[in-house]
């Protein structure tokens, strides 16, 4: 980790601080590498870190255990760059979604078990969406479809406990609008997540999923950065923490490390490892 990102004991950063970075759009390997750096930084600082970022081109990220052959057989995403996430779950078409990575030490109250971290971040988003007149709720445990149904290739076709859903687009139906997945390392948890605010028209119909925009009746979409900033504030409030927004992109502070790690995510043997 580049020391320019490092918090010295005199920086005033503590466990009850949520640090947020806003990164520019980048390709899949760069984003995955940056997220691994974020996890290492969270472990070193001992605090919760959050990174918001975009994608320089439409990209499909595969869950850590998904089979590359399954991706290659889906015509609607043919030709779209693939990147394999270190986290689990199903495939996501990135480009029009709001993507985040959050990292928290396992010793943190939110890092001990998988569901807690999903629930606190998703719960904060429920509150923020409600402030914009959008009613979403966590998918209940009793109604969860099995997450290991491999016939459901895309994350947004699956329902796991705590995924955010909302009514629509057809009366009487519900659609998943936010899902997250984790990589649990020895001392730190990296959580990836995606909010489907707008549908992605760069892929075929079978890879498109109902987005918030498709289900809002008489409402305008909230400003993306405002929504994410409000979400960060809610997350911090739930922790009783202060928000520290960094001015410089996270990737800029650890460019060499990201470049080195991105090389692995560009390798075919990583992407096609399963």
């Amino acid at each position: 980790m580049n020391r320019s990102l490092a918090a010295s004991p005199t920086d005033g950063l503590a466990v009850n601080t949520l640090t947020i970075w806003w990164d520019d759009a980048a390709d899949g390997p760069t984003n995955m590498a940056a997220d691994e750096c974020l996890a290492a930084e969270a472990e070193r600082r001992g605090s919760l870190l959050l990174r918001f970022y975009g994608w320089s081109e439409t990209t499909v990220s595969l869950g850590g255990f998904q089979k590359i052959d399954d991706a290659r057989q889906i015509a609607s995403i043919r030709g779209v760059p693939l990147v394999r996430r270190p986290s689990g779950g199903g495939a996501i078409v990135h480009g029009s979604d709001l993507t985040y990575a959050a990292a928290v030490p396992k010793s943190h109250p939110w890092g001990a078990s998988p569901q807690v971290f999903y629930d606190v971040l998703h719960g904060a988003m429920v509150e923020v969406l409600a402030d914009h007149g959008i009613r979403a709720w966590p998918h209940p445990a009793s109604d969860a479809r099995p997450v290991h149904d491999e016939s459901l290739f895309f994350c947004f076709d699956r329902r796991a406990t705590g995924d955010l859903v909302m009514a629509g687009p057809v009366a009487g139906t519900f659609s998943k609008i936010m899902g997250s997945a984790q990589r649990r390392l020895a001392g730190v948890v990296l959580q990836h997540g995606s909010l489907l605010l707008r549908g992605n028209t760069a892929v075929g119909v079978s890879a498109r999923h109902p987005a918030v925009a498709d289900m809002m009746v008489g409402l305008s979409l909230p400003d993306q950065s405002g929504l994410l900033r409000a979400w960060g504030a809610r997350v911090a409030h739930g922790l009783g923490a202060a928000v520290c927004e960094e001015n410089a992109p996270f990737v800029r502070g650890c460019a060499l490390e990201v470049e080195g790690l991105a090389a692995r995510f560009r390798e075919e043997r990583w992407t096609a490892r399963r």
């Binding site: 869950g63 850590g64 255990f65 270190p86 986290s87 689990g88 779950g89 010793s107 943190h108 109250p109 890092g111 001990a112 078990s113 998988p114 569901q115 807690v116 999903y118 997450v147 290991h148 796991a160 406990t161 899902g179 997250s180 997945a181 984790q182 990589r183 649990r184 390392l185 020895a186 948890v189």
Partner: protein, 128 residues
């Protein structure tokens, strides 16, 4: 939980067998915390591992977790049936749910692992 087990802080258990071979598995605490296991990848027999190095992966509730070698050595056997019967990890984590067997390079590394009481103290202090 058998008294002869040792534990890593990363929740793998170790049982010494004969000939310097160690059986390695995942603690019941970790299995319960992960819940709903869906995938597992085991290492190849013959692979050399160092203590603290990831030797496999397991996925549950969209969370991929690494399995860490509690001791350095060579993987001499894997429980090849386990990925197809992950429920065994919950039913019998210290028996049929064993994961790999490692021929230790240096059995004294065992001294650096936790005994049962120390491990139970560790997991008892973990936040929930």
């Amino acid at each position: 939980m058998a008294a002869d087990l040792k534990f890593a802080k990363t929740h793998e258990w170790v049982r010494p067998e004969s000939g310097g071979v160690l059986t390695v598995g995942i603690s019941s605490y970790a299995v319960e915390a992960l819940t709903d296991l869906v995938f597992m990848q085991l290492p190849a027999v013959g692979r050399k591992v160092k203590a603290g190095e990831s030797f496999g992966e397991i996925e549950s509730v969209k969370a991929v977790s690494d399995l860490y070698a509690p001791i350095s050595g060579e993987i001499v056997e894997v429980n090849a049936a386990l990925p197809g019967k992950l429920e065994t990890l919950g039913k019998d984590p210290y028996g049929e749910g064993w994961v790999v067997r490692i021929k230790a390079d240096n059995p004294t590394e065992l001294d650096g692992l936790l005994d049962r009481a120390a491990y139970e103290s560790l997991v008892g202090s973990q936040p929930h």
